[in-house]
Symmetry: C2
Subunit: 375 residues, 2 copies
């Protein structure tokens, strides 16, 4: 069995190119992980997903423990087999969703008890239970159970919340059952306070993890504050472990975070936007519902190799979006995920060639030029 291992193959400034080897295969970094909330990356078959170049996807502990249930997935051979995806899967710990989705939450030192947003049934998540669920799901990468500190927040409250997450990180590590080829990541908290972030990094590296996530960002603080916090956080993380910025983000966010040394990302944006007729392209965002596309026989992007761009016109995508057709959601999700993966590949190649700044400048120039004129 392959050990779980991160290898850095090139650097350009703080940015790194590398790969994570695991029991389920290799993840090229910087990597974008499509979000597969309920054991499906919405509107995508596993084969379509592979065609976009995705190496790894994310699953949601909170959603899966409620439906169909972790025990059910375990009996069925784990999440990979259940959803027909044999490449790596990272599962979040449920800490974020339990705060944003569940009803009648009650938090204590031990964990969170709550009611399911689906059927009102009572559940509990603790560091031990979260890690156990992720084990049952057979997650390639398990995330520590944490509290995602809300924003804005007072420094005292942020400190208490971060320290609770650190105690939970220690309990998560204790509860985690080592398996060759699998990994456990800690999550840095501390909101936008540099000293809290530094403390959190020290605390986690003392415990020791296979990778380090930066949590509690992309929660409303804005891009500038996020980047400042990354600048104050990343230097405190071990050089030789993968770094994962949770829930990020827009293409611009990803580019800025790669420049700051982040290796992994996840976000619902490409999939959710795809279902809302919003496309990410070389030319920036394009709204396919706009009437300017109605008679446009050109592909969304003639340089894009995705199924939607190879086979269909903007006029057709506009028609599907206006008609609320499932195929519209399928094709635009497909395109968006392909675009994100192409961006990651471009970033990886640029780090390797040590041309990252020039690459990013070109990307921005194209974004800023806007969509091509209508016909």
């Amino acid at each position: 069995m392959t050990p779980f291992q991160f290898t850095i193959t090139a650097k350009d400034g703080a940015a790194r190119r590398g790969y994570v080897d695991s029991a389920h295969g290799r993840v090229h970094t910087p990597a974008f992980m499509p979000v597969g909330t309920a054991a499906t990356v919405k509107a995508m078959t596993p084969d379509a997903l592979i065609s976009t170049g995705a190496d790894i996807i994310l699953g949601n502990t909170y959603h899966l423990m409620l439906r169909p249930g972790a025990e059910t997935i375990a009996e069925l051979g784990g999440l990979h087999r259940f959803m027909g995806w044999d490449r790596p899967i990272l599962t979040d710990s449920g800490g974020y969703q339990v705060m944003s989705l569940s009803k009648l939450r009650k938090m204590s030192e031990n964990g969170v008890s709550f009611q399911s947003h689906i059927d009102g049934s009572a559940h509990e998540l603790t560091p031990e239970r979260s890690v156990q669920i992720q084990h049952m799901l057979d997650a390639t990468i398990t995330m520590c159970f944490d509290e995602c500190t809300p924003y804005p927040v007072e420094q005292n409250t942020a400190a208490e919340s971060m320290r609770l997450s650190m105690r939970w990180a220690e309990r998560s590590k204790s509860a985690y059952r080592f398996r060759e080829g699998y990994g456990l990541f800690g999550i840095v908290q501390g909101s936008v306070f540099p000293e809290l972030r530094a403390e959190s990094c020290r605390c986690l590296t003392d415990i020791g993890f296979d990778g380090y996530a930066v949590g509690g960002l992309a929660v409303g603080e804005g891009r500038e504050e996020m980047f400042k916090t990354l600048d104050a956080t990343v230097p405190h993380l071990p050089e030789k472990r993968p770094r994962y910025l949770m829930g990020v983000g827009k293409p611009e966010d990803i580019v800025g975070a790669v420049l700051r040394g982040i290796d992994m990302f996840d976000c619902v944006l490409p999939t959710r936007s795809g279902r809302n007729a919003q496309a990410f392209t070389r030319f920036g965002a394009v709204n396919l519902k706009n009437a300017r596309h109605k008679n446009d026989s050109r592909p969304l992007d003639d340089q894009c190799g995705c199924y939607a761009c190879r086979r269909f016109s903007r006029a057709y995508l506009n028609h599907l979006a206006k008609s609320g057709e499932i195929l519209g959601a399928v094709l635009l999700t497909w395109h968006n995920l392909h675009y994100y993966q192409q961006l990651m590949e471009g970033l990886r190649n640029a780090v390797e060639a040590q041309t990252l700044n020039a690459y990013i400048e070109n990307v921005y120039t194209a974004w800023n030029s806007g969509d091509m004129p209508s016909v």
Copy 2:
């Protein structure tokens, strides 16, 4: 260019096996045409559709004239190019949908004026306009504009309605512009009255069409009445032209109609049911939302070669259906269309082998045995 031509290669009783050659390729008959209402067979990519074995699909004049508009599709190179489907397309005439969907209809000898159900805009459909629209769509097979006689109905009213459709059929024929490899079908009306059906058949064969559809059935009359009407209609249709039973149907309806000499079918049932977690299988209908599938690691049908059955478990399909995931609609639509095409292939092979009755008996035995016991 291939001429539009029907060839019968085998017979078993009244049932025929053959093929229709056209400008867009060959259609093996008896054929099932998936319904592509709004320029998409709902939830299917064209490639997925091809993998089910579909030779031909149906498009809806009514829907397409309203959105995106026939002129728009014509400018974009026709319906085939617009939706990325290069095999044959049959378009209905709009006669049925205008009565079932539109608002503020006004019927006259000339045609029907109505308001769009989408935006209330005013439109008119006449035999000439319907045929012109189908020409602009570049339909491989154009249907005459007709009135689908409601059910139940008095014989006098049915006669008047049928005779109006016959006058419209003559005008449709006059308006139709011949193109090599394309065809025009007439539509028999007359409700459940044998003498009216016979009159309608005579009338249409006098005008002369490339194929003959039986309309005004599957509108509430029930299977027995439908089969009786087919028995009173089919013998009056030319032997050497394809016969199309419109809007039919359930697998049992199709089997019974093939036995009675029908060559072509269309129905929303496999696609609509797929979006509602209803699967058609060798074992009969299976509701994937049923809790009995929750822990079932077996495929929906281990003898089915569709993507859903090759790659996923009943437990996963149950999970997707319960969660309302798009992938659930995609996979069950895929399976259902594959099942329908397999059934048609089985019927074609049985006609060729002159073992149709035995084949149908086996199909019924399996249907009646019901779904496999749960694990």
